[in-house]
Structure formats: C-alpha cells, structure tokens
Symmetry: C2
C-alpha cells in the first residue's frame, strides 16, 4: 500500500447515525424516568422494555442494577458524586441513542439541572422525560427495600424526598400517575406516547 493509497482509502467510511436509525426502524431516544425511591421507576422501566422489545424494537435499560455496580462503582452518594453519576449515565445514554437504540433509564435523578444537562447532550426530540409521579407518602408506605425507614432514622443521609430535595420536572414529556394502575398500564401510557409522537416507526 503506497502512501497515496493510504490517504485515499483509510478513514473512508463510517456508519452514520441516520443509517443506524433506518436499520433499527425506529427513532432513537433516551426515555428518562425520574421519580422518588419506591415510585415504581424500575418496574415501569422493565415493563416498558418488555413491551417495546416484544414489538421488535431495539431497546436497552440502564438502571441501578447495571450501572452502580459497574461504570459508577467508584461513586458514592455525596452531592458531587450524585452529579457525576447522572452525568455519566447521560453520556452513556447518548451513546446508546447514537447506536440507534431506544434506551430507557430509571434513576431518581432528583435535580432539575442535572436532567437538563442530559437533555442538552442530545438532539431535540431525543430526550423524553417521564415523571413517575408517586407521592412521597405512597412511596414511604411501599418502602420495598426499607430505605425510607433507614432515611428517617438517619441511617441513610441525603435521601431524596426526606433529607435531600427531590425536584419534580416542570415540563416532562410524560407524567405517569402510578397509584391506581399496574406497571403494565403505566408502561403502556409511555408506549402510546412514543407511538403517537412517531418514535416507533422511522
């Protein structure tokens, strides 16, 4: 291979984002679930993942189970570490979006500013904010992992909604009220929105 050939042929091709979108027959986006601990984010996210996957969509789910033990295992729960936690999740979500996936995230992500930073990473329409709107009272009654009890006793500091603020979205694309619905019904509301807005056929 001569130097000239080298210049002509190397770095010639890339798979474009547009090509990936067409390949996966969908409009890739970050479907960002935010809400208090116990609000139902993870359950709804999983149900949504199943609904979309069974409808032949290329999906992926990011949640505490696959992020906190891996990419973000070096981070604690200080304010700075919480910001960095969400920043990294946002960047990884953007990569999945660029890969052509509908990526679903389920993190408390309590601060408006942090969620706005993620929204700003991607194109308009690529960030779909879903407020899982379950009252603190209901979340605390559910307390599936006993975390609220520990937060009230002071065993867990900086707990969103108790000893640290939870800033609800003001302009979320979707607000899901969970208190009189199954997880499937909540997930179906999100699917209905995605279909109506054209995310599911591109």
């Amino acid at each position: 291979m001569s130097e000239v050939d080298n210049n002509l042929t190397w770095h010639a091709h890339h798979v474009t984002k547009h090509a990936r979108k067409k390949f996966h027959k969908q409009y890739p986006a970050i479907i960002w679930l935010t809400g208090l601990s116990g609000s139902g984010k993870s359950s709804i996210a999983n149900a949504l993942d199943v609904l979309l996957f069974e409808a032949n969509h290329n999906t992926f789910l990011l949640d505490g189970d696959n992020v906190r033990q891996g990419l973000n295992k070096d981070l604690g729960f200080s304010d700075a570490d919480r910001v960095e936690n969400i920043r990294r999740i946002g960047e990884v979500s953007k990569l999945f979006c660029d890969s052509g996936a509908l990526v679903i995230t389920a993190f408390i992500s309590p601060f408006i500013e942090d969620r706005a930073l993620v929204r700003a990473l991607v194109e308009k329409d690529e960030f779909v904010e879903v407020f899982v709107d379950t009252s603190l009272e209901v979340c605390e009654n559910r307390d599936p992992k006993g975390l609220y009890k520990k937060a009230r006793s002071g065993e867990i500091p900086n707990f969103s909604g108790i000893s640290s603020p939870y800033e609800a979205p003001k302009n979320a694309e979707i607000v899901v009220k969970t208190e009189n619905k199954t997880e499937q019904e909540c997930a179906q509301e999100i699917v209905d929105y995605l279909r109506k807005e054209g995310y599911l056929d591109a």
Copy 2:
C-alpha cells in the same frame, strides 16, 4: 391496585440477555482493537463497523471521537486517568455487549493489566482482543496527526511507544498486520474470524 396485586405484578418481567441475543441474531461481543497511535485502529474499526453493519449486524463503535469528548471528558492523560479511561470504556462496552451488540473499540489501551480487567468483566468468548500490529517505525513515519513529532520533542509527555510503554498482547485472539494491506483487508480478516468462531449467527 391492592398491596397484594402490587407485590404480584411489579418487577415481574425483564428482557433477558439471551432474548436480546436471539433478537439480534448474533453472539454479542466486545471486539477490542489495541495498538500504537497511528497503527490504523480507528480506520480498521470503522471499516469493520461498515462491513458488519452492511451484513445486517447490530454494531456500535467506541473510539476517541465519541468517548473522550463525552463520558471521559473529565479525564486527562496521567497514569491514573488512563487506567480510569480504559475502565469506563470497558464498562460501557460490557453494557453494549449486554444489549446484544457487537461493539468495536479503538483505543491504544497500552497496558496488559487494563485490557485483562476488561476481559474479566464479561463472559468467556465475549472479549475478542485484536492486536493491530504495526511497528513503531511505520506508525512514526505515518504520524497522521503529528503526534509523534510532538512526543519526540517532549511537547506531549507519556506518549505510548515513545515515553511510556506499549505492552503488546501476548495472546490476542487476532493479530492484524497492517503494513501491506488496505483497511478493508484488515477488517475482512476480523470478519472472517468472527464468522469462523460463530459470532455472526446465534
């Protein structure tokens, strides 16, 4: 929804890794290209991405272009930051692998230990190490970004192969010699390996 219903129906389903593998009709893996700066990693990675994508495979490419400006923009080039850089890329690659993708990475990743840590993150056969084996002399002659010149003058410290070690793989799954081949020929060798080993039909 009663408390009993809640316990029964929430957290019921997940999309399994096995289901994603079947959906994408391939055996997901991390195809990890390592080699000196200028060795041809990025060009071969892009050519490989195009070849696989055009053969209807779900792929994604991680390289300096989409990682250093995003997820890892807080990292510099100190030893500690280089280790963290590769650790995060490894964790993100694992997430893509779990999503069912064939994920291709193109980073110098000069240290055997760091690459071994990535290999240990995933299952056996999910890590395919590709040594892009171009001699330092040839890389330095190519010097497409003028980095070797800056490294030799001391303007860039800790440059792999010049002022910092590059530890070549001892047991890479694939060794690609680039010096008398086009990027397409090098990429095709990797495709041939993947096909032979069963990654392209699952």
